[in-house]
């Protein structure tokens, strides 16, 4: 036998334990959803907009998590897919007068295709090559968006200004409230889809590829194809987030999608928790609220705070906020230790 049973068994869940956790988790999630809906009427103005952005970033980070967390392929350029989704949505709304909700599937499709095309050469090689290629894509994209030949579509350096959608069917909601609820609905669908994908056969194959590619290949996983498809799905999620982001911010421009956006998504991923669906939400909240806090700590160099937190998390809490919470929960319940997630820190040499 060339497989390592311990490694692969770790990715399969134990059924009885699962049933208890599952019931608890469902209740927990319903309470969370109710609270999220209630927030529509508790917050208003800028605070509600921030919550909308938390949902949008959560979807984007979830996309990044699928490829980086679950499949182990590092992308430093997911901001590019966010940007492409945003631009597809903006162009379709302004040039082709499509309703805002109809642009989301289009953004998803375009991003999945671009993701597949970018992933195809880079993922055959694995390791750092995808990180390099996606990093290059993230640095290059603003320049492509500014290019004169595309100006009729992209609006060049000025970008595109969008109108804010109103609540449909005469619902008694403000535009902000409707936008929040719409994003929440998209977010719930995205998270359910992602959870089902990751809990099933494909998700197990992804984790096998991450933890032991050779064993996975021996078990019949087509490495290059699975990695490329995973990357496409991941780009799809982030693209939908980008489209939602364009609608929420009502403005797209090349310089809002610099390499820094990709880095922010990466930081959100690590802080929230690598290989954790719930981690995407924590990461998004960090990304949205952290700049305010960082400016209070250091007005001069807020990005340095990001960098320091990122390094500190990697050294001291490599499974992020989600991992830390899960460990606390396990300890309270007295169960064995949290196992899901990448062994980030190796032993000493």
């Amino acid at each position: 036998m060339i497989t390592k049973p311990g490694l692969l068994a770790q990715t399969a869940r134990i059924p009885e334990r699962n049933a208890i956790v599952w019931r608890g988790a469902i209740v927990f999630k319903l309470i969370g959803l109710a609270a999220a809906i209630a927030a529509t009427f508790v917050f208003s103005g800028y605070h509600l907009f921030q919550l909308t952005m938390v949902i949008i970033y959560a979807i984007a980070i979830l996309g990044l998590n699928i490829v980086t967390g679950y499949s182990g392929q590092i992308s430093l350029g997911h901001g590019a897919f966010y940007a492409i989704g945003a631009y597809v949505s903006a162009i379709l709304m302004t040039q082709y007068n499509l309703p805002y909700w109809a642009t989301l599937p289009a953004a998803a499709l375009v991003c999945a295709i671009v993701g597949f095309a970018i992933g195809l050469p880079a993922l055959r090689l694995g390791g750092l090559y995808l990180a390099l290629t996606t990093f290059a894509l993230a640095i290059t994209l603003p320049q492509i968006l500014k290019y004169r030949a595309f100006e009729d579509w992209t609006g060049g350096v000025q970008g595109i200004v969008l109108a804010k959608p109103d609540a449909p069917f005469g619902l008694p909601l403000s535009a902000d409230q409707w936008l929040y609820l719409f994003s929440l609905a998209v977010g719930v669908v995205a998270f359910v889809l992602a959870r089902n994908l990751l809990a099933g056969r494909i998700g197990r194959a992804m984790r096998a590829v991450r933890d032991h590619p050779i064993a996975a290949e021996a078990m019949g996983v087509h490495l290059a194809l699975l990695k490329t498809k995973t990357f496409a799905v991941s780009a799809l999620f982030t693209g939908v987030a980008g489209a939602l982001g364009a609608i929420a911010v009502q403005y797209v421009a090349p310089d809002s999608f610099s390499v820094f956006l990709s880095i922010v998504l990466f930081v959100g991923l690590v802080v929230g928790g690598v290989a954790s669906v719930a981690g995407a939400v924590f990461g998004a909240a960090f990304v949205v609220y952290m700049p305010n806090v960082a400016e209070k700590i250091s007005k001069a160099a807020p990005d340095a705070i990001y960098g320091i937190i990122l390094i500190a998390i990697l050294f001291f809490a490599p499974s992020g906020v989600a991992g830390a919470l899960a460990r606390i929960a396990e300890r309270v319940r007295g169960k064995d230790r949290f196992k899901d997630g990448i062994p980030l820190q190796g032993g000493t040499r």
Partner: protein, 292 residues
């Protein structure tokens, strides 16, 4: 025709700078199998150090040497404080730490030195520009390529002819065996980091008069260095240098005749993708077969 020659020569001149940054990347890759995404921001920081020393009244070459020395120490410190602990870590941790360093250096550069674009002096030009080589190169381009060529030769001589260089190559080749014959592996790795940071500093100082100095100066340059390193083969130092020169020429010719200056970075992206599709180990790289 003379236009093409002009572009090729000026491409070789900027290519020499890409080559030294690509060599810095390869130096770290060969010893640790990590790609230093912060290499560009570290170089920018070093360039700012040189700039502030010149502003403070030091002569150009004194500022140059001091900045390179400080960068060397910064490189040593990063290896000793952070990277040493990540020796066997998952690649995601290493990339994350590099991204963290990128953010820290970028932010600190902007904080200490400001975000306004600054002109950087060139030691090879004294105001009244006299084109050299029959008008094909500016004095700075020629001077910068001579400096980087001299540095590249010095690095080659160091690795080829000194015992220390041999020890460093041994560590890159096989750390376990090196330790068994008494080489201090950690010190060699730290030295490699220091040298890479110093090389980046030289590249930054040489390119700054051309692209002007601001905290985001090196983002594009790093991309060309990546493209150069991949083109030559990321585990091949000589190949990376040749790749750097080649990317410089491709950039100059492509920018002048194919896509225009607005899409120059796209050339770097396309070269990276093309290399990965057609020659994934680079032109000079070895095909590595790992044993299952």
């Amino acid at each position: 025709m003379s236009g093409v020659l002009h572009q090729v020569l000026s491409g070789l001149a900027t290519g020499s700078i890409y080559a030294s940054l690509a060599l810095a990347l390869v130096m770290i890759y060969k010893t640790t199998h990590h790609v230093n995404f912060a290499q560009g921001e570290m170089a920018t920081f070093s360039t700012f150090i040189a700039w502030s020393l010149i502003e403070a009244g030091f002569s150009y070459w004194v500022a140059f040497l001091l900045a390179v020395a400080v960068s060397f120490v910064i490189g040593l410190a990063i290896q000793a404080l952070l990277m040493r602990r990540l020796a066997n870590a998952h690649v995601l941790s290493a990339v994350g730490v590099f991204i963290g360093l990128l953010l820290i250096f970028n932010s600190i550069s902007g904080w200490i030195f400001g975000y306004t674009v600054k002109a950087f002096p060139s030691p090879f030009e004294s105001g009244n520009e006299k084109p050299v080589l029959g008008g094909y190169l500016s004095a700075h381009e020629l001077g910068a390529s001579l400096v980087t060529l001299a540095v590249l030769l010095a690095v080659y001589a160091f690795f080829r002819f000194t015992t220390l260089g041999l020890a460093m190559r041994a560590v890159a080749f096989n750390p376990q065996s090196s330790r068994l014959v008494g080489i201090r592996v950690d010190r060699m790795l730290a030295l490699g980091w220091g040298l890479a940071a110093a090389l980046g500093a030289i590249a930054g100082i040489m390119i700054a008069p051309i692209v002007f100095l601001d905290p985001n100066m090196m983002a594009g340059i790093l991309l060309y260095a990546f493209a150069g390193a991949l083109l030559g083969g990321i585990d091949n130092a000589a190949g990376a240098v040749a790749g750097g020169f080649a990317v410089g020429v491709i950039e100059a010719l492509g920018g002048a005749y194919v896509v225009g200056t607005e899409l120059k970075l796209t050339i770097a992206l396309l070269s990276i993708v093309a290399v990965l599709i057609f020659k994934p180990n680079g032109v000079f790289g070895r095909h590595v077969v790992s044993r299952v």
